[in-house]
């Protein structure tokens, strides 16, 4: 299970393990990366056995990926599974480390004319749902499930 964060008393859990949430307020959430020490190639998420680019099997280094990138490509989704609001923009964002991230692109119109390739984007996080679970003492608590999104940015 992904590492849990906690801000102002509310328990938070990232929707996916490579999203790292702050444990004290003032910290920023980030996407976890893993960097090859031999060639410098970066990957999304931790826990790789080796580097598939240069084939080094030396231990990789955990890093923080940038929260700014550019829009590589997208798909405007008009039909989905029940419970997913449409239309929305599913996008591939390229980060400066050479890592590609699939995400929802928000605060944009789902219109190709408004989605120029290479558009600068930035990461934001927000709560997408809640889970009610019993903690170790058997007391029910609410956990906010946090996801990351990308939105257009000025730079």
């Amino acid at each position: 299970m992904a590492a849990e964060g906690s801000v102002e008393g509310r328990k938070q859990r990232p929707i996916i393990e490579f999203l790292h949430l702050p444990t004290v307020s003032g910290e920023k959430p980030y996407l976890a990366g893993y960097q090859c020490q031999a060639c410098g190639a970066s990957y999304l998420g931790e826990g790789r056995v080796g580097c598939s680019k240069c084939t080094s099997t030396e231990p990789l280094q955990a890093t923080r990926l940038s929260d700014h990138g550019i829009l590589y490509v997208y798909s405007i989704v008009h039909q989905s599974v029940p419970g997913v609001p449409v239309p929305y923009v599913s996008a591939i964002v390229d980060l400066p480390e050479g890592v590609s991230v699939r995400c929802n692109l928000i605060d944009v119109e789902p219109d190709p004319a408004k989605l120029p390739f290479g558009m600068p984007v930035q990461m934001v996080t927000c709560k997408v749902r809640e889970r009610k679970e019993k903690n170790a003492e058997g007391v029910e608590e609410t956990i906010d499930i946090i996801a990351f999104f990308f939105q257009p940015s000025q730079n």
Binding site: A2, I15, V73, Y74, S75, V77, Q79, S80, S90, C103
Partner: protein, 192 residues
């Protein structure tokens, strides 16, 4: 490596077949291919079946159970969209290598109504579909199409023309699942 010849092929009509299972459909196609080649299953020295969604169901063995259990090696392969060609490649290598003279490959898939493949994607119990982008095949391949647009300037109209052309072919193919023509305007209005 030796030269390899395709002696016979067989195909059944594309469809959902709710009343049949994977080995049944594969067996029907296999029998057609044997007929086309003028061979019997007794001539086949190795059999390989490609299937993805029921890949653990021992389909090669179950097809032979229907058309002839002759004691030959039976192989099952799974390789995403390349599953059928992987089955063919294994059969090819069997003959090219000189190990066998006659081999047979079958590709068979029953999709049911799982048209939006990948919709069940979860991470640690949390569904990410539609939150962290889409892993559904229409969206994934849509992105691949948009990448083609980005790299080569391909237009939505050009993609639509491919669909129009393919549907035109389907009308003349009695084994097509959907034998309907579509026109370009219809497709374009839907494309974006």
């Amino acid at each position: 490596m030796r030269d390899v010849y395709v002696l016979g092929v067989g195909m059944i009509k594309f469809g959902r077949y709710p009343d049949k299972d994977v080995p049944q459909l594969g067996a029907e196609a296999a029998v057609l291919a044997l007929k086309d080649a003028g061979l019997s299953i007794k001539d086949v020295e190795m059999f390989v079946c490609g299937n993805l969604f029921q890949a653990n169901a021992m389909n090669a063995q179950r097809i032979l159970q229907q058309i002839g259990q002759t004691g030959i090696p039976a192989l099952n392969v799974s390789n995403a969209c390349a599953t059928g060609s992987t089955a063919f490649r294994e059969a090819y290598i069997g003959v090219a290598s000189g190990m066998y003279d006659v081999t047979m490959a079958v590709g068979v898939e029953q999709m049911g109504k799982m048209g939006l493949l990948g919709g069940g994607a979860r991470s640690g119990g949390e569904s990410v579909e539609g939150v962290l982008g889409s892993g559904l095949m229409p969206a994934v391949f849509g992105q691949a199409g948009v990448e083609h647009m980005r790299k080569y300037g391909t237009t939505a109209e050009q993609f639509a023309k491919v669909a129009v052309k393919n549907h035109k072919h389907s009308v003349h193919n009695p084994l097509s699942q959907y034998r309907v023509e579509v026109n370009l305007m219809m497709w374009l209005m839907d494309a974006w």
